[in-house]
Amino acid sequence: MSVSKLFWEDFYQGRVFEHGPRRLPREEMIAFAAEFDPQPMHLDEAAARATMMGGLCASGWYLCCIVMRMIVDAFAHDAASMGSPGVDEVKWLIPVRPDDQVRLRATVIETRASGSRPDMGFVRFAFELFNAEGVRAMTLSSSMMMARRNARYPAGGESETKVAR
């Protein structure tokens, strides 16, 4: 396990992280739906054509999970992430289709220190997911908790927290 490189202090207003493109394979999209969202519009091409979505499309929850995975791959794997208290809002704007390529943009909206825990702070992000044509398919606004550089508690399972670099 590597020592975290990004702490709360490294997330300043306006900082942007980008990730992708990531292909959303048909099999993975359908497997997720079969387990968590088995509705015809997410499972079966012919049945999906008869729905409002006009064809097979990703479950919105699958897209949330993909955003989460892209957050981890973009920066959270290397950050002193301590989880998240929740999500302010998610909007699913257009259908995302099997094998679409998506890109993630994460913009830091604001940061604040925790009032009760001097070892952490909150970072509020605007996440945007774009399809291959560059059209915004989904937005997600959410806060993450990050350890501060002076944290005594390790985040991300580190047995000790060091100031890296």
Partner: protein, 160 residues
């Protein structure tokens, strides 16, 4: 699904319960949320959570599954009584999702949904929009997840 016109604000649905096993928590996290406190007991023990916890997205996705299963049972009941079944459309999104307490390996979460608002769609006359508050509580009765979502429901007047 009942038709939009028959949905009553305040109506509550018990969706059932789900137990989060350590292996399912880790499998989900490997695919979608590979952070140490979702992946590995030893690393989780050293984190602020003190033990392995489910990804919040896992907790949310299980709500969706139980909601779909609930609607299916309701649709079966309607068909048995010879009543028409309304289509459930997609969702434009959700808000105010709160992960109130960690979900630990072995926790059993009971989910419920309450209708908080209904309004006809202005852009799609065949459809109405139902706003629901969804929540999950653990075996100790502590709320662990809560959010407000919106979903399209077919209107009777628009039915073919």
């Amino acid at each position: 699904m009942k038709f939009f016109e028959e949905i009553v604000v305040g109506e509550r649905m018990e969706l059932g319960a789900h137990t989060f096993t350590a292996s399912s928590i880790k499998a989900f996290a490997r695919d979608f949320d590979p952070q140490p406190f979702h992946l590995d007991e030893a690393e989780a023990a050293r984190s602020i959570y003190g033990a392995l916890i489910a990804s919040g997205w896992h907790t949310a996705a299980v709500w969706m599954r139980l909601m779909v299963d609930h609607q299916r049972r309701e649709d079966d009941g309607l068909r048995e009584r010879g009543e028409p079944v309304a289509a459930l459309g997609p969702s434009p999104g959700f808000r105010e999702l709160k992960w109130l307490k960690p979900v630990y390996a072995g926790d059993t979460i009971s989910y419920s949904t309450e209708v908080v608002d209904t309004r006809p769609s202005t852009s799609r006359p065949r459809w109405g929009l139902m706003t629901i508050r969804n929540s999950g509580v653990n075996q100790k009765g502590e709320p662990v997840i809560s959010f407000v979502s919106v979903v399209f429901v077919e209107r009777r007047t628009g039915a073919a």
